[in-house]
Amino acid sequence: MLLTWSTVLATVGSCILAAAILIKAKKTAGNIFFALFSFSLAFLVAANYFSLNSKSSPEMTLFWIRLVMFSVPFVLLFIYGFGCSYLNPNYKINQNTLSLLAFVTFIIALMNLTPLSYKFVTISPTGKIIPTTGPGMFINGLYIIPLFAAAIGMMIKNIRRAEEAIDKKRIEVALFLFLISFGTQIVTSFILVALFNFTDLVFIGNFLSLLFIVTIGISILRLKLFGLNVISSSVFAVVITLLMFAEIFTATTPQYMAYKLIVFGAVSFTSYQLLRSIILELQQKKEIEELARDFKKANEKLKEIDNMKNEFVAMASHELLTPISAIEGYLSMMLDEKLVEIDDPKAIRYMRRVYDSSKRLAELVSGLLNVSRIEQGRLLVQPDIINLPDLVENVLDELKFTIKEADVRVKSDLSKSLSPVYADSDKVREVLINLCSNALKYTPAQGNITISAELRPTRKVLEQYLEVGRAMLKKNNPIIEETLQCTINEKTKCMAGENQLVIAVKDTGVGIIKEDLHRLFQKFSQLGSWSHHSIPGTGLGLYISQSLIELQHGRMWAESEGKNKGSTFYFSLPLATEKESITKINKLIPVAKDAKSLAKVAKP
C-alpha cells in the first residue's frame, strides 16, 4: 500500500510539477530541461511500480522492466541538460551536441525495448524477479554513468560560478536532490540489477522519487526554485487532501471510515492553515523585496547625484580659480610690482578693491571646496606626532606682516617641553592661521593676542565644549549624547585618552555675546564688525577649523565675557601617547577612495 501511494504521489506530483514549470515559470533552458526530466521521471516511476507488481506474468514484468530502461536514457539526457543550463547565464545551446545526444539517447532507448537490454525475466517461487541482461546492457552503462557524472560536474561548476548566494543555494538543493534520488536509483535499479541480478532494492527508487518531489516542492516555496511560488504548494496540498478523501472510500469498516474521516479533516485543516501562512509569508516577502528594490534604486540615484555634485564642485572650483588667478596676477603686477604707471589715486584705490575682492573670492572658492570635501568625508587626514611650539612659531612667522600691520602684540606661551600631540600638522596649521587671523581682525591696535596650551582631563574638555558647542543637545547627560553622536557620525571622531592638550588663542578684541557663541561655528556666519583689514572673511573659516579638529579626535569651542571683553578660542588635540588607539579607531572609519588634502589659497 505504501509503495502504491508513494508511486501515485510521486507520479502525479512529478506531472503537476512539470506542467506548473512549463506553464508558469520562465522559459529558460534549465526550467524546460527540468520539466522534461519530471515528466520522464513520472513515466519511470510508474513503469517501475508496474514491473514490481506484475509478478504473476514474467512477460508483463519483462515488458515493464524494458519500459523502465526505455525511459532511463531520456531521464539522463534531461538531467545533463539541466545540469549544464540551470542558473548558468553563459549557457548557450549547442545544437550539434544536443542533436547528437538526442540521437544516441533515442537509439539506446529503442535498444532497451529489445532483448538486447533484458533477454527475459524469471520469477522465483518466492516471488523474486530475476532478469537476465542482454548483450547491449553494457551500452547503457557506458551512457548512463558518464552522463550522470557529467551532469553532477556541471552543477558543481555552476555552484562555483554563481555570484548570488541564493543562486548557489538553489543549485546546491537541486544537486543534492539529484544525487539522493536519481543517484540512488542508478545503484538500486540499474547497477545492482544489471550486474548482480539483485532486485530486492528496486522499490526504493519510488520512495526516493516521492522524497524528491516533496523536497522540490518545499524548495520552490523557500528558494523560489524555478520562479514558482505558492501555486505548486497549493496544488500539492489539494492533491494530498484529495487522496485522503479518496482513502475514505477504501475503508472496510465504519470505524476505519470514521478514522479516515478524522484524518481527512485533520489533513484538510492543516493544508488550509499551511497554505494561508505560506501565502501571507510570500506576500510579506514580496513587499520586503519591493521595498529593498526601491531602496536600492534610491540609493543608487543618491550616489549618482553625489558623484555628480563632487565632479561639479571639483570642476567648478578649478574653473573658477583659473580666471581668479589671472585677475590676481595682473593686479599684482600693477599694484605690487608697479609695472604700470598709474597717476590717478582713485584708479589705484579702485584696483586695490578689485584685488582684495579677487583674493576673497579665491578664498571663498577654496573654502567651499574644503567644506564639500569635509562633508563628504573626502578630506585626507594624515596624523603624525607633532611638536606644537615649533608649529605655532612657524604660523606666527607667516603672519608677521599682518601682525605688524595690525599693530597688535602676539605672544606664544607654549613651553618647549610641551607634550607632543598626534595630529595632522597641515590641518592644525590651517586652524592656527584661521584663529590667529580672526584674532588679528577683531582686536584693535595695541591689543594683545596670547597663544597658550595646557593638559586637561578629557571629561572636563567635553563638559566645557558641550556647554557652548552643542546647544541642540538638551538631554540630561550631554556627554552620552556626544558619545552617541561619535558612534553614528563617522566624521565626528571620538576623543581618545584620559587627557587632552587644549590650545587657547586669547585676544583682547571686540568679544562675543553669549547668545552668539554657538553660531560662530556655523557656515557663512560672521558676527559683529571687524576692527582691522578691509577684507571681510568668508564665514567658513571657523566651520572648517572645527571640522578639521573634530576629524583629528579633538573639539573646538569659544568663550567670551561679552562685548568688548575679548574672546578665547580653544581646541583640543589627542596626546602622542594615544597614537595606537587613534590608529585603531581610524581603521574602523572608511575613507573615501578619492580623499584629498585641503585646497589652499594665498592668505591676505
Binding site: 572650483s317 581668479i324 596676477g329 603686477m333 605690487d336 585626507l380 584629498k596 588634502s597 585641503l598
Partner: protein, 135 residues
C-alpha cells in the same frame, strides 16, 4: 651663479589664453624669451621644435593631459633634460607627489602664486640645474 634671462627661452603650456599671456608678458618684461602653447599636443611639438630652457606646464590640458605631457617630455631624449614646473589651480598632495616623482622640477599653485613669484621660482630651478651640472 645668477641666470641671464636674455639667454633663456621659457615655454608656457596652459589652455587658458589669458593666463598664458599674463605669464608671457611678465616673463618678457623680465627679459626672457617666451613661447606659448594652448594644448598638450602643441606644447609637445614646440618643446621639440624650440628646445626651451624651461617649461611651465599646466596639469589640466586638452588633447594631451599635463600628466601625459610630463611623462612624454621626460621619456624623450630631446626633452628629458628640460626642467618642468607644473602649474595647477588647486593643491592636491597626491598629485604633487606624483608629479615630482614623475620628474617635475617643482610645483606652482596658480591661485597662490603671483607672476613675480613664478619668475623667482623659474630662476631658482635654472640656477639649481646649472649648479647640479658636472664641471
Amino acid at each position: 651663479m645668477p641666470i641671464n634671462p636674455n639667454q633663456i627661452t621659457v615655454l608656457v603650456i596652459d589652455d587658458d589664453q589669458t593666463l598664458c599671456e599674463m605669464y608671457a608678458e611678465r616673463l618678457k618684461i623680465e627679459g626672457f624669451k617666451v613661447e606659448v602653447a594652448y594644448d598638450g599636443e602643441d606644447g609637445l611639438e614646440k618643446a621639440v621644435k624650440c628646445t626651451p630652457n624651461i617649461i611651465l606646464l599646466d596639469l589640466m590640458l586638452p588633447k594631451v593631459s599635463g600628466f601625459d605631457c610630463l611623462e612624454i617630455l621626460k621619456s624623450s631624449p630631446k626633452t628629458k633634460n628640460i626642467p618642468v614646473i607644473v602649474l595647477t589651480a588647486l593643491i592636491q598632495q597626491e598629485s604633487k607627489q606624483r608629479e615630482l616623482s614623475a620628474g617635475a622640477a617643482d610645483y606652482i599653485i596658480k591661485s597662490e602664486t603671483m607672476p613675480m613669484q613664478v619668475i623667482t621660482k623659474i630662476k631658482a630651478v635654472l640656477e639649481h640645474q646649472v649648479a647640479a651640472q658636472p664641471k
